[in-house]
């Protein structure tokens, strides 16, 4: 099982949980297992083509999966998958 870190903007769709345990052999499977459990997260993470949305960064531990093997990047037990959309809050 991997730990998926849920960003604040997605937490309403995971019942408020900041971290969710999800199984899978690679990053894609882990995220699919997340969207299986919390279907409302699907449209935020994946486009209609099944690819990750460009505005969502996904990291395996501390590395962007874009520089690894993307959704096919292998996940080990105990790994952390971080979902990270840009935030703009600051001045106001």
């Amino acid at each position: 099982m991997a730990t998926v870190r849920i960003p604040p903007v997605l937490r309403p769709k995971t019942g408020g949980q900041p971290e969710v345990e999800a199984g899978g052999a690679d990053v894609g499977e882990v995220l699919r297992s997340l969207t299986g459990e919390f279907p409302d997260t699907e449209a935020q993470l994946f486009g209609e083509d099944g690819e990750l949305n460009r505005y969502v960064n996904v990291y395996l531990n501390d590395e962007d999966v874009r520089v690894l093997q993307g959704l096919e990047t292998a996940v080990k037990d105990g790994d952390t998958v971080v979902i990270l959309p840009a935030m703009a809050g600051g001045a106001a």
Partner: protein
């Protein structure tokens, strides 16, 4: 010339000889006086090792015992004794500068003085100048630095406070908003009395009360494609605390063009992010976030709420980054994104890589001719429907 000091022969050299060697490079220069003397004036590149700490600190200041090592003090006595001591410790190529810094200055050779630093400034910044990483040189750099803060709100307030206290000589503030009661839960540079005043003015009043060394430049308006290059060109570093995506992308693209480092943070709820973007040395904002998220994934603090102290945590981290960039010390968050989650009090560091395909700083990014420097894409359209609808800074 050689002097018999504690029965050891040491080499002594005149200031002009020392100057030639120093200019030639490959010299370890040691100042064997006390910290307060060092702060007043010292030779450029001189490392302070007070006589009482010689045995403890010389190995750090001069790790190579075979390197040419020149010592100086005020008039040449303490450095001669220290030179003999170092020879006893196995240093092979040590010289003491005769006449010390007094003779050096008498001959018109340059020193790093607390010039521009008044007695009041020496007192005010004494906790800085005591730090080897800052010292008088570093404090003078801070006093000469020009930093632009984008936003005088949640993040800008604590950043401005600490930069002003640190003696950053020029602080520019961009904000088109006025102080509102709902700001005061986190925007600690403003206060109840100043509700209704422009934020830039309110911040200036506070900063001037805190530190008369700081010149505050008010940019009471908002940055757009027509003015951004003019506004940022005179600053050394820009601090991004903007609350909307069009401004963040505009700032990124302009700062890459002008090669200005940007310290960028954002906050929402109990979460914060911070990174430092140094053009062409590390990734830019677009390498990290090629496209802005849609509206439902990009709520504002006014809609979502934000823990007030989050602004302080992330704003002071921004100030820390700025100070390190000015000093040229330490390891800024270049190529690293630091996440802070306040409920769990946890920090997470992620790697950010330069994107070779980045349209702004990547391998294929087009060289922008001078005539096109001030032209930018339509960021509102770029971010339209993507949560980037232009909010006022009051949002």
């Amino acid at each position: 010339m050689a002097t018999d000091t504690t029965r050891v022969q040491i080499e002594e050299i005149a200031p002009f000889e020392a100057a030639e060697e120093i200019n030639g490079g490959d010299v370890v220069l040691i100042d064997t006086r006390e910290p307060h003397e060092y702060q007043e004036a010292h030779l450029e590149g001189g490392k302070l090792v007070p006589p009482g700490l010689l045995a403890d600190e010389i190995a750090t200041a001069a790790p190579d015992k075979s390197a040419r090592t020149i010592l100086y003090c005020r008039s040449g006595n303490r450095s001669a004794i220290a030179a003999a001591h170092l020879q006893g410790l196995g240093y092979e190529n040590v010289a003491s500068m005769s006449g010390g810094i007094l003779e050096w200055q008498e001959q018109g050779l340059p020193v790093v003085a607390a010039h521009g630093m008044t007695p009041e400034q020496r007192e005010r910044y004494s906790r800085h100048t005591l730090l080897p990483e800052v010292g008088v040189d570093g404090q003078v750099k801070l006093l000469n630095a020009k930093v632009l803060l984008l936003g005088a709100g949640g993040l800008g307030a604590p950043t401005a406070l600490y930069l002003a206290a640190a003696g950053v000589g020029t602080i520019g503030l961009v904000d088109d908003d006025v102080v509102d009661a709902s700001n005061l839960q986190r925007q600690v540079i403003h206060n109840t009395e100043r509700i209704g005043l422009p934020k830039t003015e309110s911040a200036r009043i506070f900063i001037e009360g805190l530190n008369p060394d700081v010149k505050v430049v008010e940019h009471n308006g908002r940055l757009d494609a027509s003015n951004i290059l003019d506004v940022i060109k005179d600053y050394d570093i820009v601090v991004d605390g903007a609350d909307n995506f069009p401004t963040r992308y505009l700032l990124n693209d302009a700062s890459v063009r002008l090669r200005k480092p940007v310290v960028s943070a954002s906050i929402l709820g109990f979460d914060g992010q911070i990174s430092t973007f140094v053009p062409y040395e590390g990734p830019c904002y677009r390498c990290l976030y090629p496209t802005p998220p849609p509206a439902e994934l990009a709520p504002s603090c006014s809609a979502n709420g934000v823990l007030g102290v989050m602004a302080g945590t992330m704003g002071t981290l921004q100030a820390n980054e700025v100070i390190k960039l000015i000093l040229g010390k330490g390891n800024p968050l270049v190529g690293r994104l630091l996440l802070y989650e306040a409920l769990g009090t946890s920090f997470t560091e992620l790697k950010v890589r330069r994107d070779p395909e980045c349209p702004i700083c990547g391998e294929h990014a087009e060289e922008i001719p001078e005539s096109e420097m001030g032209r930018f894409p339509d960021y509102d359209a770029f971010c339209a429907g993507a949560g980037g609808d232009r909010q006022t800074l009051a949002s």
